[in-house]
């Protein structure tokens, strides 16, 4: 045990002496939370909208007012002809144009029905969809107001939509769990694989192996500091998102932390596995980035919903561990569900951990032969 502690002490010295390591461990998580929280937003606030009102009647003006004052949009200009639309989009501030044709007012009074158009900048499809949805919702609302409840005509079924767990569709509800998932696998797997392959590259691994330290002690000594630091990291991220974004943990904090520990263990064993197949730090970094970062961002359901994926990618995502952890953490943090609802995912993570560890041990033995 004393030998082991002397070794762990050295690992901490490595970490605290290297400013780059410290930045990766503590700087990146904070930066990511803040960037994802403040800069990258999937909800709409102050989207630029231009108005082309050729009708200039009472209703069109009222509807325009309602849209502009909703808080989701700001008026970026008034257009007077169709030719100006593209120029307006090219300027870059306008995400959508609201069009009332010349006959809008007349049609409405004569026929009780009129067509207005919304043209959105489709070069950013996600934003365009959101913007048109928001605008349409406002128009529907406006319809109800002018028609009044007394007019339940045909085709007037009005769906009342409510977003459970996240009524305002705040994007950090999605990003905080995602960032935790990404950061943990990044720190644990990347740093572990790098630190172990560094010993190989510098020749110090030979010396450790020749010492009375057992291989198990060497590996455990390597991962212990990262286990502790990652855990501190999670607590830091949770505190930060609670203070800055008011995002509480709805479910059991104990369960969340326990699941997080499991995920950290899984990531560490993955890191060990990576180190057994790479001889240099460069290789380890390359494999970690390509093999972990990208799948975590693209295939875990962090940003792109798994349901929408091509069946092949969906299948591939089955072997991406973060996919399961995202489900777990979202369930516990945001829905407040218990273990009963996430036991399957937990079991999968557990099995993956066992698998990675046993493969690493076999690989390591082979090397020693």
């Amino acid at each position: 045990m004393k030998r082991f502690l002397a070794f762990v002490r050295k690992e901490f010295l490595h970490i605290f002496r290297d400013i780059r390591t410290l930045i990766i461990i503590f700087g990146i998580p904070v930066a990511q939370i803040l960037i994802f929280g403040f800069v990258v937003r999937t909800d709409i606030k102050n989207a630029g909208i231009a108005i082309m009102d050729l009708s200039q009647d009472d209703v069109s003006r009222k509807l325009t007012d309602k849209i502009i004052s909703s808080g989701f949009f700001i008026n970026t200009g008034h257009l007077s002809s169709y030719n100006e639309i593209e120029t307006e989009f090219r300027k870059g501030n306008t995400r959508a144009v609201l069009i009332f044709g010349e006959d809008f007012g007349r049609d409405l009074t004569r026929e009780g029905k009129a067509v207005m158009s919304i043209i959105a900048d489709g070069s950013d499809p996600n934003a365009a969809t959101l913007i048109t949805n928001y605008a349409m919702a406002i128009v529907r609302d406006f319809n109800m107001e002018i028609a009044g409840p007394a007019l339940p005509g045909p085709g007037m079924i009005v769906p009342g939509v409510k977003m459970f767990y996240n009524p305002n569709l705040e994007s950090h509800f999605m990003f905080v769990p995602g960032v935790i998932t990404l950061i943990l696998i990044l720190i644990c797997a990347l740093m572990t694989s790098v630190t172990i392959s560094r010993e190989k590259e510098f020749g110090t691994m030979e010396v450790l192996l020749v010492s009375p330290l057992r291989p198990v002690q060497i590996i455990l000594g390597k991962v212990t500091p990262y286990f502790l630091l990652s855990f501190i990291n999670v607590i830091m991220i949770l505190l930060l998102s609670w203070i800055v974004f008011d995002l509480p943990v709805k479910g059991s904090l104990v369960l969340l932390l326990a699941e997080t520990m499991l995920y950290i263990l899984m990531s560490l064993s993955l890191g060990i596995l990576i180190s057994t197949i790479s001889d240099t730090m460069q290789q380890a970094i390359f494999i970690s980035f390509l093999g972990l970062m990208l799948p975590t961002i693209l295939l875990s359901g962090f940003i792109f919903p798994i349901e929408n994926m091509h069946p092949v990618y969906n299948l591939v995502s089955m072997i991406v561990p973060p996919r399961y952890f995202i489900v777990i953490i979202k369930n516990i943090m945001i829905k407040g569900t218990g273990l009963m609802f996430v036991w399957k995912e937990t079991l999968i993570l557990l099995l993956m951990t066992v698998f990675f560890i046993s493969v690493s041990i076999r690989k390591f033995r082979l090397r020693l032969e």
Partner: protein, 247 residues
């Protein structure tokens, strides 16, 4: 001959699948001896070194190191040997003192003992001023001396040096060999592999490996006489070449 036997190898065979890396090695190394272990790349030196230091088990044969069976009691073997390789095996981002603390620690030495040994080591190398400097600040020669001393920190009976002088200048090499002599004089056995044939002349006895076998083992003087050569380099070339061509 002289002294006690500290390494005794009998009929050592190591196979990797159908490839025989060590083919029936038999030799003894004595206490306080400087034993040179030569051979071309791929001759099986590294494999033998790994077996002797308890890193891998022999396929067959008996290997006793410092009184323990290297195959079955590798743990005890590891406690009683020191090891230093070409890369000097110190952590460059740690200070001299931290490296000493680490090595003492992983060899299970008490704090008290580490402190005593550290003091001795720093006195001997005249190293006090470097105590709190990180290794990467030290010149190569000093690093090498320090690595050697650190490998001796836990007072092993045998020290294995795997090409310890690779990449250092002749003067530093000379100084390093002086340290080796001193250490051997204190009764510690030195088992050294090297590519420098002039260094082989400094050894008490030299073994030359080729294609997994030991093809020559004697004092440098006897080897030169036997092969009618001026120096070990000539001996080496004469032994290694003809065998290679028959394959």
């Amino acid at each position: 001959m002289k002294g006690n036997i500290v390494i005794s190898v009998r009929n050592l065979v190591k196979k990797f699948g159908s490839f025989t890396a060590n083919d029936d090695l038999t030799f003894d190394v004595f206490e306080g001896e400087i034993f040179g272990f030569l051979g071309a790349n791929g001759a099986g030196k590294t494999t033998a070194l790994r077996i002797l230091s308890g890193l891998s088990a022999p396929t067959s044969g008996e290997v006793m190191v410092a009184g323990y069976d290297a195959g079955k009691e590798s743990e005890m073997v590891k406690r009683n040997i020191g090891y230093m390789c070409q890369k000097f095996s110190l952590y460059e981002d740690l200070t001299v003192r931290e490296n000493i603390m680490l090595y003492g620690g992983i060899y299970g030495m008490s704090r008290q003992l580490i402190r005593e040994q550290e003091q001795k080591l720093l006195d001997k190398l005249d190293f006090k001023e470097f105590r709190n400097r990180v290794i990467s600040d030290l010149p190569l020669g000093l690093r090498q001396k320090l690595a050697f001393s650190v490998a001796l920190l836990h007072q092993p009976k045998i020290i294995f040096l795997d090409e310890p002088t690779g990449g250092v200048d002749p003067i530093t090499r000379r100084q390093f060999w002086e340290m080796i002599y001193e250490t051997a004089a204190a009764g510690i056995t030195i088992f050294v592999t090297t590519h420098y044939m002039d260094e082989a002349e400094y050894c008490d006895r030299v073994s030359i490996m080729n294609e997994g076998r030991i093809v020559a083992l004697d004092t440098p003087e006897n080897l030169k006489n036997q092969y009618n050569a001026l120096n070990i380099e000539e001996v080496f070339i004469r032994i290694a070449r003809p065998l290679k061509q028959t394959v």
